[in-house]
């Protein structure tokens, strides 16, 4: 443990986070806004990595869990006028219930079949939102009476703090006994069972934890944006971005998800002058990184260190 707290990557992470927390004193509101969104995306990707990288479950629909969190919180606010923290908890709870529901097919199906189910889950959620437009805001979106803050600096600090705490918890989980058992279950389920592990229990827990952080982050994101819309939190394209970010940063690392998400969103913003082309360029860049180093950006760093 001690060795970990004095290791180079740890000190580097703390240093980066410390500098990040000071950014509101020096950079524009525009940049803070971009980073705020990026930080919530970072949590999406890290939660996804816990499921895919560790538990080995292919979840092609991260936005199912994110959307449940976002709309759960958004509807609690706009329909019930509950206090913001309560709305966020309701969103998180909705996501956890969704996560456990998703775990049930996951325990029967594997690989591409589970992937399909998770995709269908997203489409279903999207349809439900559009059909029940009266309460969900439909395709236009749900505008929220409350927001976290009207100023960009506090919004930024909330997001940074949330990402830091979530990242620390997810990272700790990945390195815990539970994380080890999860990896064993993901790589060789029969062998893991033969070692005496009830992998069903561990996988359900993994789905619940992943859903909890996805949902919390989704809820916080809509309170930052002030609206919940299908395009922002449910659309399959958003889910694909979350996945690309996690793979780009380096799967089975947790932290890689954050790096990949921030990279993707910041790069997208920098290239915004290119217009429609920017998405294409970012996608190609991501593709190149993944092809050069299947272990992602963190994998590249690790390879450089060992050679």
């Amino acid at each position: 443990m001690k060795k970990f707290f004095s290791s180079k990557p740890f000190i580097l992470t703390i240093g980066t986070l410390a500098i990040a927390s000071l950014l509101p004193f020096g950079v524009s509101d525009y940049i803070l806004g971009v980073l705020t969104t990026a930080f919530y995306f970072a949590v999406f990707s890290m939660s996804w990595d816990l499921l895919f990288g560790y538990a080995g479950e292919v979840n092609f629909g991260p936005t199912f869990l994110i959307g449940l969190g976002a709309y759960g919180a958004g509807m609690a606010d706009s329909l019930l006028n509950l206090p913001v923290p309560v709305c966020i908890l309701i969103g998180a709870l909705a996501a956890v219930i969704g996560g456990v529901a998703l775990a049930i097919p996951a325990l029967r199906l594997t690989g591409p079949y589970l992937g399909l189910i998770t995709l269908v889950a997203v489409l279903l959620l999207q349809q439900v939102i559009v059909i029940f437009a009266g309460v969900t805001g439909g395709e236009i979106g749900l505008s929220m009476p409350d927001v976290l803050s009207v100023n960009s600096a506090p919004n930024y600090e909330y997001a940074l703090a949330f990402m830091t705490v979530s990242g620390a918890i997810l990272f700790a989980i990945s390195r815990s006994n539970f994380g080890l058992i999860l990896q064993a279950a993901g790589q060789d389920p029969i062998a893991a069972r033969a070692l005496g592990f009830n992998i069903t229990k561990h996988k359900i827990a993994a789905f619940a934890i992943s859903a909890l952080f996805s949902g919390l982050s989704g809820a916080l994101l809509v309170f930052y944006l002030g609206t919940a819309s299908v395009n922002a939190v449910v659309d399959i394209a958003i889910g694909v971005r979350v996945i690309i970010a996690a793979v780009l940063g380096g799967r089975r690392t947790i932290i890689g998800g954050a790096i990949g998400a921030i990279f993707l969103i910041v790069a997208g913003e920098i290239l915004r002058p290119l217009g429609q082309l920017s998405t294409l360029v970012v996608a190609i860049m991501a593709l190149i990184v993944i092809m050069v180093s299947p272990d992602g950006l963190l994998g590249m760093l690790r390879a450089r260190r060992t050679t």
Binding site: F178, L180, Q183, I190, A191, A194, L195, F197, R252
Partner: protein, 468 residues
């Protein structure tokens, strides 16, 4: 040594896969401090018995009792915690974790709330690792270890929970003879610690020195039980025992070494070898399915880099051991696929000829390949290969898991094939009695090397001892 009541008691164990009875009413007792060898050729059901005990497959009938606790039908993790450990032949270790952490995994509690391993568990993992001969490599990653050490690590994981019964699947496959000795010693320490050990292997020979008793299986049934010497002497065992299955090792173990092999046109060459000798690897190399060093000359030209498909179209067609039929397609469709590269007329003429060679396939033409019996599937696999009009037909273990009566039919078909066509055949077999009668020449493959070659009539005197 067999003092007191058995610790593991299996009675009437039966497992059916669809219509196939893989295990039929097996009774078996295992005492503390005893090593029982469970042997049988490939497809005999011995691995299924092991999976049933471990709960990886659910038995249809029968009971499995560990100290009077009924385990049949329980989930694997409960069986593991009740006191049964298993050493898999192949398993995927955690690659980002050290050897120590891999062993530690076996010691972790099955709780979600346990976050950090306690020091006693770490110390215990270290001592288990040292006992299994991993003392020097505990902090290395599995990928950097030689094959034998990976096997040691599997052993260490299996005994981490201090099981009363240890199941070991083919402990010696892929190991060198000096490694075999150390592993045998390691398994004997399990027995000396009072555990009951079940060794699953193909041959009596490989386990004879260390087992207390042997149980031999064939086609799902027990055919003999007793001391190793008794089982070896048993007439039923001698009759059905074909030598063993086939095991191919990629990655760390070298499967073939410096093979020189010539097959002349219109010749029938048999390659005889026990399980793990390297027959399938050799065939896959010839068919271009796996990379190999060395050169392969085909019809006068040294073959360059070609895809397996191009090689097959050039006339080298392999009929693989696993048959690789398209299970949901009909017999006819399977055959038509083999004739895809020919004109309609050629294909139809060929089909006609094949259905005369294997009349049973005619009556099964519309049936899904999956529903055929093992023997019929084998005939279909051969017929499909012949549809491609091969110049060289490679038959890999066609007799695998087949009943003796089917062997006769298959043998007849090969005879007709030899007499009526100018096909060249390369046959890989562990069943010597099947391989010899057809062969013009015989090669004997052992541990990836050719150790003997010659005409079949000299085989029995010069190389036969190990195969009977």
């Amino acid at each position: 040594m067999n003092n007191g009541a058995p610790c593991l008691e299996v009675t009437g164990l039966t497992k059916r896969f669809g219509g196939l009875v893989a295990v039929k009413g097996i009774d078996m007792n295992l005492h503390r401090g005893e090593i029982l060898g469970l042997i049988g050729p490939n497809g005999s059901g011995k691995s299924t018995v092991m999976k049933l005990i471990m709960g990886i497959e659910r038995p249809n009938e029968g009971s499995i009792r560990l100290n009077d606790l009924e385990l049949a039908g329980k989930p694997t993790h409960q069986i593991a915690r009740a006191g049964i450990g298993i050493v898999f032949q192949h398993s995927r270790p955690l690659h980002r974790q050290t050897v120590l952490e891999n062993i530690l995994l076996g010691l972790l509690p099955d709780r979600l709330t346990s976050l950090i391993p306690d020091q006693t568990a770490i110390d215990q993992a270290r001592s288990i690792g040292e006992r299994c001969g991993l003392g020097d490599v505990l902090n290395r990653l599995p990928a950097s270890l030689p094959f034998a050490d990976l096997r040691r690590m599997e052993m260490a994981k299996a005994i981490a929970r201090d099981p009363q019964v240890v199941l070991v699947d083919e402990p010696f496959a892929g190991l060198t003879s000096s490694e075999v000795k150390t592993f045998a010693a390691l398994i004997e320490t399990f027995r000396d610690e009072g555990r009951a050990v079940l060794l699953v292997d193909h041959n009596v020979k490989s386990v004879a020195a260390m087992v207390d008793r042997v149980l031999a299986m064939y086609l799902g049934e027990k055919i003999a039980e007793g001391s190793a010497a008794d089982v070896i002497a048993d007439p039923t065992v001698r009759r059905v025992y074909l030598g063993g299955g086939l095991e191919v090792f990629y990655g760390k173990a070298q499967a073939l070494e410096n093979i020189d092999l010539i097959v002349h046109e219109r010749e029938f060459v048999s390659i005889v070898g026990l399980n793990g000798a390297g027959k399938t690897t050799l065939f896959n190399a010839i068919s271009g399915l796996i990379p190999a060093r060395g050169s392969i000359t085909w019809q006068g030209d040294v073959r360059g880099k070609q895809t397996p498909a191009a090689i097959a179209r050039a006339g080298i067609v392999q009929c693989p051991e696993t048959r690789e039929l398209f299970g949901d397609m009909s017999v006819r469709e399977n055959l038509d696929l083999g004739g895809q590269h020919q004109s309609k007329a050629d294909s139809a003429e060929r089909l006609e000829w094949l259905l005369n060679l294997f009349p049973i396939l005619k009556s099964r033409a519309g049936q899904a390949a999956r529903t055929l019996s093992g023997g019929e599937q084998q005939m279909l696999a051969i017929a499909r290969a012949l549809m491609m009009r091969p110049k060289l037909l490679i038959l890999d273990e066609p007799t695998l898991g087949l009943a003796p009566v089917i062997l006769g039919q298959l043998s007849d078909a090969l005879t007709i094939l030899r007499d009526t066509t100018d096909i060249t055949v390369l046959l890989g077999e562990q069943n010597v009695t099947f391989a010899l009668p057809h062969a013009d020449r015989v090669y004997v493959l052992e541990h990836g090397r050719i150790i003997w070659q010659g005409p079949p009539d000299r085989f029995a005197d010069e190389a036969g001892a190990a195969y009977l």
